[in-house]
């Protein structure tokens, strides 16, 4: 770490075109001056803090502006105010910010130190030594042990596992909690853990220079005269954790700042709210009008100098010409009128946002007890934008759904199981049942599996052959791996959660899948161990939509078991099943109507002779080099026919709690929800229905799935035409609108839904079509994009951001959502499920999708309301304050004489008015949360920017103008020629200043009272306290004592005593206050009467209902009855039947480990060398996260990274 902290930026020489290093040769490697492994994320050290921090702070326009003002004030000719009026607020602001920066940096120092001082074993001088991370250098060989963090970017040399594999978890890097596998080169793997050999290792690596690409690596290793290519498979990146691997050795390639982790960090885009942007515009406008006002006053000064001032020389000699005097006056007024943009504005805005962020952190109703996760506002600068959301982009898996699959129902041989009926034949709601099926007869049953229909287990016990065949199929036809660490403790690693659910169901009903080898499957059938010979796996893919296995039973019978989409299976059934098909179809419709995912199961017995011929051809086809795929398909097609239907399964893709209600609420608040998912179209549609996004009542649901740009365009046009028959053919309009970069909102002639898939989306997002797409999509109530890539997710968000003047929010839980979370105005991460990447890049995070409605409808709305009220009031109070100077100018020869005491000017924003307005902005609420939920329409004004806009600002300015006129001219007229009750002077400047400032303070305080709709004790204390404070401070500063200490700083001595005891002074104060407030009250009252807003209506309703507040009606779970037929949906892509049979995955027998990760599915990871591993089980979570209790109703939690997820 360099002393001056200059190496916190990556070295910029850029000269490093290729990295060369030699193992175990520090001398050689040092000559390249590679970064060491120390990291430094802190910005300052003790000595650089002050200069650097001040430099940074003055880069902010507001601070720089005040610095310029300060400089102006130091010029005696210009200075119309004492220096302290600017210095005190500026110093306060700078100190507060510096303190915050300092604490942040101290924390960074701490975490840097903690990381840098971690210990790792390094091979130095032929011995392993424990060294600090920061002392590790490029070219060192280090030893990592299980569960250790990877120290730097390493080249994997050797490991304890066979084939030199290591398993790593990349959660910190990309957010994925599943294990990935890396494999060392055999030549280095042979080094093993032999220290001597390792110490002799002198391989030379040449590789790419440091970069931030996590998925790519290029390099070569030269060792013993041979050159070996290196790719990403052999690289362990810093930030990963070693899992299930006793030890491994690695060669450090990149250290510290040059690691890919560090190269990837930082550069998070700085988000600003629309209010921020509006404020910037307004501040510029204010500067403009400030200059304008000063010009007027300067011109006034010129005229005055020529007409009056030049004659006044008897009493005041002129030093300058009128022109120069006007010039100086201009600057003097710039100083005086600068309070139109007070520095405290920015500080207050930050404080308010911070406060409202804390409310989010503190909200118990957004705390999820099951995972012990409270909501978190990770960004404190975006709160009010939460009240303006118009578009919500949501991920599906893990966000809307729990990604827990539950085997809910089935239909076997024409009989439907799963529903429970009471005596009267009424179907009971499953969630209310208390009496699950007892699986104790089965020692191997999964205790977490719950099923309520006792008929099914009876059927199994009665050895109903169809039921047995049904479960046998489920136990045999899959690609799940079983792991049995201890006798009877089975753990399944499924590629998709659906499969896991099915196999687990079979397990509980007595058909326990126990283990497999490449050519056999062992199951326990009703307590009897049986081994089936696995002859072929006819794997799943998207076209086939089915999978089959061909097995030989212990008795020697050949069978083909097949499961797949109902439509696909039905085409391949034997005619004899037609009756059963009809019954099963009814059941399927019923299941689909409940939003369940269905599968049809069928089997057939095979003829030995036929099969052996088929097998030969199969072997031929699978070894053929050309056209292998289609040949295999043909073969599969041939054998999978004339099947006999067994029945159907129904799996519930369990939604998170409260999702349909939340979506309904958000829809009522006029928020449009777009679901962007990597899932298949059928799955996505299915979920769309079950979470109430798509509804039966919708007029139409358009499905865009064209494969060429023309098709897509046509489909979009058709959709538009049917939604807006009259608005057709206005693509001309579109191009026009494109130039304006804005698309207006349109109304369709009914409710529509749009489903578009990834292919079509790619075309639709091209610049020639994006407007067509956007227009169509915006006409629809609900939009679902399926099979989208993370990049497309971001593109969709960007598209809406670009052409719609609307605020967007993206919510997701996985690494695949990061791009969209970063792209949207607000990113929300679902925490506690799938790694931390989404949360880390999000602005807000909480554990459940349903909290979104509270975040938006309550916190967002309040934050927006508060911020707008704050800004309106703040501008009002400062404009009023400042404009009085403007009017006074006409009576003091435009001499830049202030109206108020300088101390008042200094303290007005800091002390006298700061707390009341902060109090309002932290506590105000128009109606409470319950009512906010009952009337989601209250959210709409935020979307339309109604509370604070340019118009609102203009109104503020006009209002201030009025108030300032009152505040100047009433005291002016009242004091004109007035004397005190004892005949002495009271129309002097100091009394006038005191009177005006007191009037001002009363007027703005009363105005605040009018703005405030929620008077807590704190508010009252703040308002009254500030007034009391004003009088206390004023009397103190005008006291004899203060004057005796600093005669020249407190010239107002005695003014308060001499004028505030006069009745006419108080009568003037009352008059101005009432005159300022009455028109406002009248206007508001009339507005409420004549055109009440939604807020007014609800507030009146609340008032009426206050006597008996009705509890909000608890909506019961929405049940749809639907005739819609759901398509079969595996949530996964191409299966890995090949790997199952190849034997490569087979691992050594499990070794009990002392580590806390005994059950992580290593076997599964083996299949997927590219890192998309199949199995993830919740029990393999890192220990720092609490394992969520699995719900009683859930069968098994299968959390998977399927292809569909990414």
């Amino acid at each position: 770490m360099s002393f001056f902290g200059l190496d916190c930026f990556p070295k910029t020489e850029g000269a490093e075109l290729e990295r060369k290093l030699r193992a175990n040769d520090r001398e050689y490697n040092r000559s390249f001056k590679y970064a060491t492994n120390a990291i430094k994320t802190s910005k300052y050290n003790f000595f650089t803090f002050l200069p650097l921090n001040l430099f940074e702070q003055f880069q902010r326009i507001a601070n720089a502006y005040f610095l310029v003002l300060l400089v102006l004030q130091l010029i005696p000719e210009i200075s119309s105010l004492s220096w302290f009026t600017t210095v005190v607020p500026l110093a306060l602001v700078l100190t507060v910010t510096a303190a915050k920066d300092a604490t942040d940096d101290i924390n960074r120092h701490r975490s840097d130190n903690q990381v840098n001082n971690r210990k790792v074993e390094v091979l130095i001088d032929r011995k392993l030594r424990s060294e600090k991370w920061m002392d590790v250098q490029v070219g060192d060989i280090i030893k990592l042990e299980n569960n250790q963090f990877v120290t730097a970017d390493l080249l994997l040399l050797s490991s304890s596992e066979p084939l030199n594999l290591v398993y790593i978890e990349t959660a910190e890097l990309d957010g994925e909690t599943n294990l990935k596998v890396k494999q060392a080169l055999p030549v280095t793997g042979d080094l093993g853990d032999d220290i001597e050999k390792l110490a002799d290792f002198n391989g030379e690596v040449r590789c790419e220079p440091p970069n931030n690409r996590l998925d790519r690596f290029n390099g070569t290793l030269a060792f013993a005269g041979q050159k070996y290519p290196l790719d990403n498979e052999k690289i362990l990146l810093r930030g990963c954790t070693l899992r299930n691997t006793d030890w491994c050795f690695g060669l450090v390639l990149f250290g510290g700042q040059e690691t890919k982790l560090m190269q990837n960090s930082g550069k998070s885009t700085f988000k600003r709210t629309s209010i921020d942007r509006l404020m910037n515009v307004l501040v510029l406008c204010i500067f403009g009008s400030l200059v304008f006002m000063c010009m007027i006053l300067a011109i006034g000064n010129y005229i005055w100098e020529v007409k009056n001032g030049s004659n006044f020389t008897v009493f005041l000699q002129r030093k300058h010409s009128a022109g120069f005097s006007a010039f100086l006056t201009f600057w003097s007024y710039i100083i005086i009128l600068n309070t139109v943009v007070p520095i405290s504005l920015y500080v207050s805005v930050e404080i308010i946002r911070l406060g409202n962020s804390f409310y989010i952190d503190w909200d118990r109703k957004m705390y999820y007890s099951r995972s012990d996760t409270p909501a978190e506002a990770r960004t404190t600068t975006l709160n009010e934008e939460l009240g303006q959301i118009k578009y919500v982009f949501s991920d599906k898996t893990g966000t809307l759904t729990q990604n827990i699959m539950i085997f809910n129902k089935c239909s076997i041989n024409g009989k439907s199981y799963g529903d429970v009926y009471d005596y009267t034949g009424q179907r009971l709601d499953i969630s209310e049942l208390k009496d699950p099926v007892d699986f104790s007869f089965n020692a191997l049953a999964d205790p977490r599996f719950v099923f309520y229909d006792h008929a099914l287990v009876e059927a199994v016990k009665l050895e109903n052959p169809e039921v047995h065949a049904f479960f046998r199929l489920l136990a045999l036809c899959h690609t799940v791996m079983a792991e049995e660490k201890k006798e009877g403790e089975l753990l399944y690693q499924a590629q998709s959660p659906d499969e896991g659910a099915l196999v687990t169901a079979a397990r509980n009903f007595g058909f326990v899948f126990r283990s497999r080898t490449p050519d056999s499957i062992s199951i326990v059938e009703m307590g009897n161990q049986r081994s089936y010979e696995l002859l072929a796996i006819l794997d799943f893919n998207n076209v086939r939509k089915r999978m089959s296995v061909i097995v030989r039973s212990p008795e020697g019978k050949l069978s083909l078991y097949c499961k797949g989409a109902d439509t696909i299976i039905y085409e391949r059934l034997h005619q004899s099943c037609s009756k059963l098909m009809d019954v099963t179809t009814d059941h399927l419709n019923e299941f689909a109507g409940e939003g369940l995912r269905t599968l049809a199961l069928a089997y057939k017995d095979l003829d030995e002779e036929y099969f052996s011929r088929w097998r030969e051809r199969h072997h031929e086809a699978s070894t053929s080099l050309e056209d292998k795929e289609s040949k295999l398909d043909e073969l599969y097609e041939e054998i999978e026919k004339d099947l006999l239907l067994l029945g159907a399964t129904a799996i519930e893709d369990k939604l998170q709690d409260g999702v349909p209600q939340t979506i309904e609420q958000l829809a009522k608040a006029d928020i449009k929800i777009w679901v962007l998912t990597g899932d298949k179209q059928e799955t996505a549609e299915n979920i769309g229905y079950s979470c109430n996004l798509l509804r039966e009542e919708m007029k139409d649901i358009f499905i865009v799935s064209g494969h060429s740009p023309e098709d897509v365009r046509q489909e979009l046009r058709n959709a538009q035409n049917s939604m807006k028959p009259d608005g057709a053919a206005n693509s001309l309009l579109l191009t026009e609108e494109k130039s304006k970069n804005l698309i207006k909102d349109e109304e369709a002639n009914g409710e529509y839904g749009l489903v578009i898939n990834g292919h079509s989306l790619a075309y639709a997002l091209e610049s020639s079509m994006e407007l067509e797409f956007l227009r169509t999509a915006c006409l629809c109530k609900a939009v679902i994009c399926c099979r989208v890539t993370p990049l497309q997710k971001a593109q969709v968000v960007e598209l809406v951001k670009k052409y719609k003047k609307a605020v967007t929010l993206a919510i997701g839980d996985g690494a695949n959502d990061v791009s969209m979370i970063k792209a949207a105005h607000i990113g929300v991460g679902i925490s506690g499920q799938e790694g931390m990447q989404a949360v880390l890049s999000s602005d807000y995070s909480f554990a459940q999708f349903r909290f979104l409605q509270r975040l938006l409808l309550v916190h967002g709305r309040w934050s927006y309301l508060r911020m707008c009220k704050f800004l309106r009031y703040f501008f009002y109070k400062n404009f009023t304050f400042t404009f009085v100077h403007f009017w006074f100018a006409f009576f003091c020869g435009f001499s830049a004489q202030t109206v108020y005491d300088e101390w008042f000017i200094t303290l007005y924003n800091l002390m006298y008015t700061a707390l009341p307005v902060l109090g309002m902005s932290l506590f105000d609420q128009d109606v409470n949360d319950v009512w906010s939920f009952q009337h989601p329409q209250l959210y709409i004004p935020g979307q339309l920017n109604l509370y604070f806009s340019k118009t609102a600002f203009f109104k503020c300015a006009v209002h201030s103008c009025y108030s300032s006129l009152v505040l100047f001219f009433i005291p002016y007229a009242a004091l004109q020629d007035t004397v005190r009750g004892d005949g002495k002077d009271v129309a002097d400047y100091q009394s006038f200043a005191l009177l005006t400032q007191t009037c001002l303070l009363f007027a703005v305080s009363i105005q605040l009272g009018l703005e405030m709709s929620y008077w807590t004790a704190v508010n009252t204390f703040f308002v009254l306290g500030s007034l009391a404070m004003y009088f206390a401070v004023t009397f103190t500063m005008y006291s004899n004592g203060m004057f005796l200490i600093f005669p020249s700083a407190f010239p107002f001595i005695g003014t308060a005593r001499n004028s505030l005891n006069q009745p006419n002074v108080w009568l003037t104060i009352i008059l101005t206050s009432i005159l300022c407030v009455l028109p406002v009250v009248t206007c508001r009252f009339l507005l409420i009467q004549l055109c009440p807003t939604i807020n007014d209506k609800v507030m009146f309703k609340v008032r009426q209902a206050r006597a008996t507040p009705p509890p909000p009606p608890r909506r019961s779970r929405i049940r749809r009855t639907s005739s819609r037929r759901s398509g079969y949906a595996f949530s996964h892509a191409q299966g890995y039947g090949d790997l199952v049979t190849s034997g490569r995955f087979l691992r050594r027998p499990a070794v009990p480990r002392a580590s806390g990760f005994p059950q992580v599915g290593r076997a599964a990871t083996g299949f997927s060398p590219m890192g998309r591993s199949a199995g993830y089980s919740p029990t393999g979570r890192p220990q720092n996260l609490k394992v969520p209790d699995v719900e009683v109703t859930s069968l098994q939690m299968y959390r998977t990274f399927s292809d569909g997820d990414l």
């Binding site: 005041l316 004109q976 002097d988 929620y1014 807590t1016 010239p1051 006069q1062 009467q1089 209506k1097």
Partner: protein, 339 residues
């Protein structure tokens, strides 16, 4: 659903009214039942106060005499541009008893005492009697810091330099004989001014403190000789000086000159003819200013000022009118009743 009875874990936020934003609060709204009665009430109160103020103000007697002498008929016309000492006198009559105590003001118009540079042109430390600032006055006083011989001026600055220096005598014609009305020059400044804010250096005799300094260029006499009748009314605590130094807020102002509280006139000025004799020194012609003398008595609410009374009556009436308008609107629309 989250069950309340579940054991409290470390991450669960506290359940307080503050953190859950459930603080008890008063939520007023502008309903007709509050606003309209409030307006009527305020209106009535304002009209009441306004009438009282107006009557009080009307009862205050005021005698104003412009002695600028712009008009060629005016007795002071001759002094208007005269730089030499010049005296003129004006006569006026008081028809009924001018109730005492009567206050004698001088007034100036178009005089910008509130001009920033003019007002700042003084040295508070000097006026506080700090001798260090006698010899080196603050540069705030420029260009009235030093005279042409570079001697420091005490009191320095434009404000002091331009002190009003007309003097007046008021005589009452009783039976054809001029009887001087005694004028009291004490108690015309604020107590805080002559006790705290302004101090003479603690050197006796006072004159010694001013060794090595010069009087302001416009002044005929040095500051320690302002009041020849009372040694304690000299220096910085001279009340005429203090009244002048308390600069006016507006370009038209009047300042207290004397009080008429003595002898026969303690109860007021009896009806009759009076003569005002003016030692006319102060030049206002150059900047189109006007000078005047004002005799006035006061009430509980100060001097004569009709504005407050009228304003209160007007605002009160407006309140009443608005309340009627609001009542009509409310009766027609009845918001809040239905819906």
């Amino acid at each position: 659903m989250v069950k309340e009875e579940q054991e409290e874990s470390s991450n669960r936020p506290d359940n307080t009214a503050f953190t859950q934003q459930r603080l008890p609060a008063w939520q007023p709204i502008l309903s007709a039942s509050i606003v309209i009665p409030m307006f009527v009430l305020i209106g009535a109160a304002f009209i009441g106060v306004g009438v009282a103020l107006f009557i009080t103000s009307r009862d205050i007697q005021l005698q104003e005499l412009d002695y600028t002498g712009d008009d060629s008929e005016h007795p002071c016309f001759k002094c208007r541009t005269n730089t030499e000492k010049c005296t003129c006198s004006m006569t006026f009559s008081i028809p009924t008893l001018f109730k005492g105590p009567v206050f004698f003001y001088y007034g100036l118009t178009n005089y910008f005492q509130n001009q920033r540079k003019y007002g700042a042109s003084k040295d508070d430390n000097q006026l506080y009697g700090d001798l260090n600032y006698f010899t080196s006055p603050s540069t705030d006083c420029d260009p009235y810091t030093r005279d042409s011989k570079n001697m420091p001026i005490v009191p320095c600055g434009a404000l002091a330099n331009s002190m009003f220096n007309d003097t007046f005598t008021l005589s009452h014609t009783v039976n054809g004989v001029q009887k001087i009305v005694p004028l009291d020059g004490k108690g015309i400044a604020w107590w805080t001014d002559y006790n705290i804010k302004y101090r003479n250096p603690s050197i006796t005799p006072l004159i010694n403190a001013f060794n090595g300094t010069k009087k302001p260029t416009n002044w005929p006499k040095p500051i320690y000789e302002l009041d020849t009748t009372d040694v304690y009314n000299n220096g910085f605590i001279n009340q005429d000086f203090l009244v002048w130094m308390r600069r006016a807020a507006l370009p038209d102002f009047r300042k207290l000159y004397r009080r008429i509280t003595h002898d026969d006139y303690a109860a007021g000025l009896p009806a009759g003819n009076y003569t005002l004799t003016i030692a006319y020194n102060y030049p206002v012609h150059s900047f189109n200013g006007k000078k005047k003398v004002v005799l006035s008595n006061v009430s509980w609410m100060g001097g004569k000022n009709d504005f407050l009374g009228i304003a209160y009556i007007v605002v009160g009436s407006m309140c009443v009118v608005m309340s009627i308008v609001m009542l009509i609107v409310y009766a027609r629309f009845k918001f809040g009743e239905d819906d």
